[in-house]
Amino acid sequence: MFPDGFDYYEASSVSEAIDLMAEHAGAETELLAGGHSLLPAMKSGLSSPDVLIDIGDVEALHGVTADGDTLGIGAMTTYSDFIGEDASEEHAPALYHAVRQVGDTQVRNRGTVGGNIAHADPASDLPGAALASDATIVVTGPDGERRVSADDFFFGMYATDIGPDELVTRVEVPSAADAVGAYAKKPSPSSGYAMVGVCVQATVDGGTVQSARVGANGVMDRGVRLEGVEDALAGASLDEATIDAAADRATEGLDTAMMMSDLQASAEFREQLVGTYTRRALERVLDRTPTPAAAD
């Protein structure tokens, strides 16, 4: 389990990373963030890049900033650094609960929010959370910054809107200090990745759902919104009957013939899991919502 040989370069700034990508455009080049998807793939021979460009020490890519309207998360912010910031749970509750369920202690100490979203593994936990929290992915290249809505960012398995000369520099979440977030995940018993995971961010006022966004992982070849569930929740009173009705519509609009299917879970099984885990995520939203009498 040794990676094949490669050339290693360390970028000290975003512009240096972009220059290094341009300089090595002819070779098979990978950015190295937390390395917790890339290094396992290289060790098992699934990936053998010629050049690695390490962005781990780019100071500008680390850390969480809250400016009232937006929570900005530097692409290299590790899961544990994100969890450790009070602002994360307050402003981005859905993402917060999803990040807490990624991997294990050691994985959360190394893996990064930006790397997870850039990698776009369909079984990862953060694509669904990016959708549920209406995140914007900030992508930087030779021509400067582009801002891409999470809704337009994920193209398919490991495929995103990031160009070959670009990198993700920041993930921005509109502040949702009034909202409640939850993530319910069925982890694979062997890898811990999501067989299915459903992430919800909802604003509830006086027992009525004002707005809700729901994203799911592990179901299709990319993170997807569960539009039937969102529709069932909008304007409804948040109670068991609504949760039942919403969970019943979990796969609405999804092409069930294209659902993920592997040794651990057939497409049919996943179809059931999406409903079950939608229900569990919504139960958590209900539990975490202050009762109308208590809220003022």
Partner: protein
Amino acid sequence: MTEHDITLTVNGAEHDLTVEARTLLVHALRDELGYTGTNVGCESSLCGACTVRMDGEAVKSCTALAVQADGAEIRTVEDLGTRHDFHPIQEGFQEEHGLQCGYCTPGMMMTALDILEENPDPTREEIREGLEGNLCRCTGYQNIVNAVQNAAKEMQPAAVADGGESDDDPTPATDGGEEL
């Protein structure tokens, strides 16, 4: 295939060495520098036997390149305590029979250190969650959890002196248990 001059500070001792870019941190520690207390189990990021602390955080050293650790402070199990002066975590494992073959133990202990530094008074559930990335084929985990709890008690006075009043806080610092 580039080679790199790096500096690793391991258990307080500074080492300069030259590594290939592809050299994993665990191999630099064991094969280049002789810190063989850190074990290699699965080599595939799953078992946690290779866990060391890097700049104060538990990491699987088979899943980091040595070049990524350039300039970092590494702490391995060799630094915990000596045969005659155990660290409370080592004492906990001895008292509670937290090991059988011992292969997973160095990694368990380094992760336990992470858990106890962040949360000096963890519940059993929080200990289990914290150790999720460390596999043991022998003990069935029960005694490992006991060992970490024992260590927590042992380390508690220091934590309280630091202002760590954890008993009377009804809201758990983490709520992961009910999340899973």
